[in-house]
C-alpha cells in the first residue's frame, strides 16, 4: 500500500513538472503577438487586447498558475488559428484517436501475443519463421507500412479508402483498419518477441519440469504454470507500448488524413498554434504516464514480486 501511495505521489509530481515544461514552451517563444495577430500588422488596440487576454503583463508564475487552474477546470484557452475554444477542437478528435488506438491494441494483442505463443510452442520451423518476420517487422516504421498499404490495398486493389475517418460504426471501422495495421506492425513484432522470450524462460524453468514429471496435462501446464507466470511481464510491456501508441498515432493519422489529436498536434505545431500544442501535449503526456502506472499496477496485482521492477517506457 505504501509503495502504491508513493507511486501515486511520484506520478502527480512527474505530471506537475511536465506541465511546467510544456507551459514554459510558450515563454521560450517570447512574444506570441505576431502569431496571434495572424500575420497582419497589429494595431496598438489589438496588441493591448491580446496582452490583456493572454495576461502577458503578469509575472511568469501567475501566468503558469492561471493556465494550470484554468486547465484543471476544463478551460484550456483559445486556439490562435481556429479562434475557437480548444476543448471543442480537441474532444471530437480525441474520440477518433482513441478508436484508432483501440483497434491497434486489438491487432497487437491478437497477432503479437498469438505469434509469440506459436513461436514458443510449435517447434523450430515456426519459431524460425516468426523470428524472421519479427526481425523485419521491427525495421518497418509506421510511415513505411502506411505507404505500402496505401499503394497495395487502397490504390491497386481498391479494397480500402485512402483518406478520412468515415461515418457510422462500420464506416469508421473500414476507414481505420489500414491505419491501425500500419501503427501495429512494429509493436506486433516487439510484443511477439517479448511473449516468446518470457514463455521460453518459463518453459525451461524447474517448476514446469516438476509439473511435467507429475503427469499434469500439457494444456494445463501451459495455461497454469507457463502462461500465467509469463503474463505479468507481457502485460507490463504491452501497457507501456499502448501508452506510447497515443503519441505514435500522429504518424498514421497524417498518412491517412484522419482527424485525430495526433494530426491536430502536427498541424498546430506547423502553424505555431501554441494553446492547441500545449493542451494536446499535456493530454498525451498524461495518458502516457497514467497508462504506464496502470500497467505497473496490473502486473503488480497479478504478481506481487514484480513491484520492485517498475515500468520502463
Amino acid at each position: 500500500m505504501r509503495t502504491l501511495l508513493g507511486r501515486l505521489g511520484g506520478l502527480v509530481l512527474t505530471l506537475f513538472l511536465a506541465s511546467i515544461v510544456i507551459f514554459s514552451a510558450v515563454l521560450l517563444t517570447g512574444d506570441p503577438i505576431s502569431a496571434l495577430a495572424g500575420g497582419a500588422k497589429p494595431t496598438p488596440e489589438l496588441i493591448a487586447q491580446i496582452r490583456a487576454d493572454f495576461h502577458l503583463d503578469d509575472p511568469v508564475w501567475t501566468r503558469y498558475w492561471l493556465w494550470l487552474t484554468n486547465a484543471l477546470h476544463g478551460d484550456f484557452g483559445r486556439s490562435f488559428v481556429y479562434k475557437t475554444d480548444v476543448v471543442t477542437l480537441v474532444a471530437p478528435r480525441f474520440a477518433v484517436t482513441f478508436q484508432l488506438v483501440l483497434l491497434t491494441v486489438v491487432f497487437i494483442l491478437i497477432f503479437g501475443v498469438g505469434s509469440g505463443i506459436l513461436a514458443a510452442t510449435r517447434g523450430r520451423a515456426v519459431d524460425r519463421t516468426v523470428s524472421m518476420l519479427t526481425s523485419l517487422g521491427m525495421a518497418l516504421p509506421t510511415f513505411v507500412v502506411a505507404i505500402l498499404l496505401i499503394w497495395i490495398f487502397a490504390k491497386s486493389l481498391g479494397w480500402f479508402p485512402v483518406y478520412g475517418e468515415g461515418d457510422g460504426f462500420w464506416g469508421r471501422l473500414w476507414h481505420l483498419i489500414l491505419p491501425a495495421i500500419s501503427l501495429a506492425v512494429l509493436f506486433v513484432a516487439y510484443i511477439s518477441r517479448i511473449t516468446r522470450a518470457s514463455l521460453v524462460a518459463q518453459l525451461h524453468s524447474e517448476h514446469v519440469d516438476t509439473a511435467r514429471v507429475r503427469g499434469i496435462p500439457r494444456e494445463r501446464i501451459f495455461r497454469v504454470h507457463v502462461f500465467r507466470n509469463a503474463s505479468p511481464q507481457i502485460l507490463a510491456i504491452s501497457g507501456t507500448t499502448i501508452a506510447g501508441l497515443f503519441a505514435a498515432s500522429a504518424i498514421a493519422e497524417v498518412a491517412f488524413g484522419i482527424g485525430g489529436i495526433g494530426s491536430l498536434l502536427v498541424e498546430a505545431a506547423a502553424r505555431a498554434d501554441l494553446p492547441v500544442v500545449q493542451i494536446v501535449s499535456l493530454l498525451l503526456v498524461t495518458i502516457f504516464v497514467v497508462l504506464n502506472a496502470v500497467a505497473d499496477l496490473v502486473s503488480a496485482l497479478i504478481d506481487p514480486t514484480s513491484v520492485a521492477g517498475g515500468s520502463r517506457a
Binding site: 511520484g10 509530481l13 512527474t14 505530471l15 513538472l17 511536465a18 515544461v21 510544456i22 514552451a25 510558450v26 521560450l28 517563444t29 523470428s131 526481425s135 523485419l136 521491427m138 525495421a139 518497418l140 516504421p141 509506421t142 510511415f143 513505411v144 505507404i147 505500402l148 496505401i150 499503394w151 490504390k155 485512402v162 512494429l186 509493436f187 516487439y190 518477441r193 522470450a197 507501456t240 507500448t241 506510447g244 501508441l245 503519441a247 505514435a248 500522429a250 504518424i251 497524417v254 498518412a255 498536434l265 502536427v266 498546430a268 505545431a269 506547423a270 505555431a272 498554434d273 501554441l274 500544442v277 501535449s281 498525451l284 503526456v285 502516457f288 504516464v289 520502463r312 517506457a313
Partner: protein, 287 residues
Amino acid sequence: MSVAQIAGGTTPAVARRAAKRDWLVLTALVVFGLVVIIAIIGPWIAPYDPDQLYAGPINGASSLVHPFGTDDLGRDILSRVLVGAGASVFAPIVVVVLSTLLGVAVAVTGAWFGGWVSGGIARIIDVIFAIPGLVIAVLAVAVFGKGLAAPIVALSIAYIPIVARLSQTAASRELGKPYMAALRVQGVSSLAICFRHLVPALIPIVAAQMAIGFGYAMLDLAAISFLGLGQQPPAPDWGSMIANGQAGILAGAPEQSVFPAIFVVVTVLAVGALGGRVTVWAEEKER
C-alpha cells in the same frame, strides 16, 4: 520512449544468435558503410541536380534514364535519394553523439556524488521520460519553427534518460569494484579516476547503446520529416520524400515513396544487426 525507439532493440537471445552468424554482421557492416559513403559523396554522384524541375516526366516510372523514377515535379528520385542521404544519416548521428555525451555526463555525475544529486537527477530524468520523444520533438518545432535543428536538439534531450540510466548503473557497478577503492587510497585525483578509469570502462556498453540509438533516431527523425515538420522543401531527406510521394502513389507511381522507404528500412536493419553484435561484445567485456 517513443515508437521508433523500440525498433532498434534486440533481445539478448537474438543478439547471441547474431554473434554466431558473423556473415550477417559483415553484410550489415558493408551495407552501413555504403550508406555512410553515399551520405558523404551523394551530391557528387547524383546524376541530376536533385532540385531540378522537369528533369524527367511527371510521376515517371523507373527507367534507364531515371532508375528510381521521377516525382510530381519531374525531379529525379535517385538523385534526391543520394543527396537526401546526407541529412537522413548525419542528423541521427548528431542526435546519438549529443545524447550520449549528455547522458554519460549526467550518469557519471550521479554515480560519483550519489545522495541528493543522484536523486535530483533521477527526478529530472523521470520527467523527460514522461514525455514521449515524438511529443518533445513536436513541441520543439512549435516553439522554434520547422526544420531539422529543433527536432535534433529535442531528440538528443529525449534520449538522455536511456543513456543515463544504463550508464549510471554501469558506473555505480564500476565504482564499487576494489580497484576503484585502491585508486582512491593511492591518492589519484577524482578527475583522473573519472576520465582515465571510469569513463573508459563504460565505453563498451555505451557503444552498444549508440548503435541501437542510431536506429531509433533515424526512424524518429524520418517520422518527423514525414509529418512535414523536419527537413523543409525543396531540400530532400528520405522521410519527407516518402511523404511527398504519397500523391504519386495515388497517381500510379509508387517508386517515389518506395525507394526512399527501402533505404530507411535497409539502413535500420543493418544498424540493428550491428547493434546486436556490439551488445554481445559489451556483454563479453563485462564478464
